[in-house]
Symmetry: C2
Subunit: 172 residues, 2 copies
C-alpha cells in the first residue's frame, strides 16, 4: 500500500473547518496532483521539471549556473546535479564564460533546443488540460485571483527558524 500523497509533498489534510473553507487543502491537493501530472508527462521525454526549467531559461540568453539557479529557485548545489543530468543526456554543455573564468555558461545543444520545444508544449498542454475544464469567465477570474494572491498576501514565505547544523566531519 502506497501513500504517495504524503510521500511526495508531505501533504496533510487540514481539518474541515466550519467557519472558513479549507484553503490549505485545496491548494495543496491541486498543486500536488498537477505536479504528478507534470512529472509523468515530462518523464516521457526523459526530463524533470527542473531540467525543463533550466533548459528553457538557458535558451533565452547566455546564463551562468548561478543565474539559472536564481531563476528556478534552486540552490547552486541542486543546479550542479541538474546540469549534470542535462549534460549526460546531451541536452546542454558547460562552457567557460569569456568574461569570468570562474563561471560556466550553460549552452543548450541542438538536441536540447528540440527537446525544450517539446517540453514546453507538454507543459502548456498539461496546464491547458486543467484550465480547459473551466468555464471561460470562471477561468479568467480564477487566474486573476491566483495572480493576486501570489503577488500579494502569498508572495513571500514566512521565515522558519532554521535548524542547527553541525560542521561536517572531514578526513585530515
Amino acid at each position: 500500500m502506497t501513500d504517495r500523497i504524503a510521500k511526495l509533498v508531505g501533504m496533510t489534510a487540514m481539518a474541515p473547518s466550519r467557519t472558513s473553507p479549507d484553503l490549505s487543502y485545496l491548494l495543496d491537493h491541486a498543486s500536488h496532483v498537477l505536479r504528478t501530472r507534470m512529472a509523468a508527462a515530462l518523464a516521457e521525454i526523459g526530463l524533470t521539471s527542473r531540467m525543463h526549467c533550466v533548459l528553457v531559461h538557458a535558451l533565452e540568453a547566455e546564463r551562468t549556473q548561478i543565474q539559472l539557479a536564481e531563476i528556478g529557485d534552486m540552490d547552486k548545489t541542486t543546479m550542479v546535479v541538474t546540469v549534470d543530468a542535462l549534460e549526460k543526456a546531451g541536452l546542454a554543455e558547460r562552457r567557460p564564460s569569456s568574461t569570468d573564468r570562474r563561471a560556466r555558461i550553460i549552452a543548450v545543444t541542438e538536441e536540447g533546443a528540440r527537446v525544450a520545444r517539446q517540453s514546453q508544449e507538454i507543459v502548456d498542454r498539461v496546464h491547458e488540460e486543467a484550465l480547459g475544464t473551466l468555464a471561460t469567465s470562471n477561468r479568467e477570474v480564477f487566474l486573476r485571483v491566483m495572480n493576486q494572491l501570489v503577488t500579494g498576501h502569498l508572495a513571500k514565505p514566512v521565515e522558519a527558524p532554521g535548524p542547527v547544523r553541525r560542521a561536517r566531519q572531514h578526513e585530515r
Copy 2:
C-alpha cells in the same frame, strides 16, 4: 543564503509559457507560502499541521490510529510519530480499543481539546487572512473553481513508478 522554497517543497518554477498561464507556479507558490504561514502560526502553540489534524479528527469520534492516518493522508508509521508527539505534549492518549485488542483509540485530553479549539481558530484565521484580500464575488468564484478542480481534473494523483527497495539488513 537560504533557499527555503526549494528546500521545503522542492518547488521548481516552470518556464513562463507564452501560450498558457503557468498554473504550476501559481499553485505551487501559493500552496507553499500558505503552508509556511500555517506552520508558523500553529508553532506558536506548539503544534504541527499534522498534530492539529489528528487532534481535531480524534475529537470528533472514537478513532484508531489507522483511521486517523487515512483521514489525514499519512502513513501509519508517520501516525506513530505524530501520536507520540501528542502524548508527550499531554494532548492525547492511546487507549486500548474495547472491540479489537490490536487497535488503539486516540483519546484527546481536556488540555488537548482546549488546544484543538485554539488551533482551529488559528487555521481559520490564517485562511481568512488570505481569502479576506479578495473581492467577495471573486472569492466565491475562486473557491468554486478550486473545489471543481480538486474534485474533478485534479482529484487523483497519477501513479509514479515507485523506486526499488532492498530488504532491510537486520541482525540475527
